[in-house]
Symmetry: C2
DNA sequence: TAGATTGTTAATCGATTAACAATC
DNA sequence: TAGATTGTTAATCGATTAACAATC
């Protein structure tokens, strides 16, 4: 998204943990979760060994692209044989930093924030939602997905007290930058925003933006070309 | 999503409506909604004329990038002066195909589908949610955001009856491909999926995928590099 | 005219694709 | 050994950046 694609930062090349490892390009990093997803599917089906052809099919990319991407992580396949599903999953998880559970705080508990707080896929993929914050007094104090919603002035202690490193912004656009600044001040290192507005973060903080209305507008562009309406 | 970037299709080059107009590159198309958003903000502030510097600042890109992108649409600025906010907004809306209202059907009315059905930004940006579908008998018949949820076998007539051209998939991953096939069969030309699974569509249908758990995993990659955990 | 700012060109950079030698 | 499949190299392609001539 892409996508967005908006918001991906390159990262410091050569700063990888393993000595001698090449830097992983941003476009490759963005596809790794998809490979992990496909590998989990194979595991569930009892598949032990897979090929770049099969795995690429499951992830929706070409075999060449898959092999090229994996080559940045190291040599985890065997020529003439393929990849061990379990081992490759593990290696990708290590590269993505999923061996440690990450804690997440969500700000803005409207319809979307509520849905995200209840989203079971987060837990399945190694993320724990540990805090919810909203500015509306009618929402503060209610329980959502097993957590009591806190007021904005509790944000800092919530983040530091839980060692949360990632913040999710699900507020109206009008307050998104203020929330973003507060999350940065509280010490998160990554932010995922759903607010339809460009946000500024310091270079030390990683920002990714999902704008669902923009996604529809991008679809409309192709729609227009097909139906001929518009120009 | 890198759409996810993932999922953008190039479109037929040269198939644009205006004769002599160059094809608009996918990366540029993906940024146009952001420019439109920034322009609307300027309009709200009463700004009549803007510069590539100001507009780029509002959209979170560089002035060079903005000018390069706009150059694919035509020459809508005046050298030495800048851009007319209203006129430029209009031109971008035309290019994106937003002069016609697009109708949208949402399949999967769980927490996320509910939030999307109630998302007011869709209407503000020219999209009308005209139908909701869910497979759960306990959900079918309930009213969400002013619409009565329909059973799956009503999908085809719902799409054709409303001239919906875009479908949104907010179901569990396990049924996403079946829903996708049904939407394609029903005649939509664009699909936005939130299900964490690679989907196959015919080349005539445009697919964009948003995977919020993958977004967190991409953030975790940079988090790892910063905290040193993982490798 | 002088200053400002666009639109375009050229240079750089990164990502994708294709082909094949290495090797299991 | 013969067949299969990876990992890598080279070629292509597209996107970004920077500089500046055109022009308001």
């Amino acid at each position: 998204m892409d996508t967005q694609r908006r918001g991906t930062r390159a990262g410091e090349p050569g700063a990888s943990g393993r000595p001698g490892a090449r830097a992983v390009p941003p476009a490759t990093v963005a596809r790794l979760p998809g490979y992990l997803r496909a590998l989990r599917g194979l595991t569930a089906d009892g598949v032990v060994t897979t090929s770049s052809d099969e795995l690429a099919g499951g992830a929706g990319v070409t075999p060449a692209q898959l092999r090229k991407d994996l080559s940045f992580l190291g040599s985890y396949g065997r020529r003439g044989v393929g990849y061990d599903v379990g081992h490759l999953s593990e290696q990708i998880a290590v590269v993505l930093g999923l061996t440690t559970q990450r804690s997440v705080v969500i700000v803005g508990i409207g319809n979307l924030g509520h849905a995200l707080a209840s989203y079971s896929v987060f837990a399945e993929r190694g993320f724990a939602v540990v805090g919810l914050v909203d500015a509306d007094p009618a929402v503060v104090g209610t329980t959502v997905a097993g957590l009591v919603v806190q007021p904005p002035d509790e944000l800092a202690s919530l983040v530091s007290g839980s060692d949360a490193t990632i913040g999710i912004i699900a507020t109206p656009a009008s307050v998104a930058q203020d929330v973003c600044d507060a999350l940065v001040a509280a010490g998160v290192v990554g932010i995922l925003t759903f607010a339809p507005r460009a946000l500024r973060v310091p270079p030390t903080v990683d920002l990714r933006a999902v704008d669902v209305a923009s996604e529809l507008q991008i679809l409309a562009f192709h729609d227009r070309r097909r139906t001929g309406t518009g120009a």
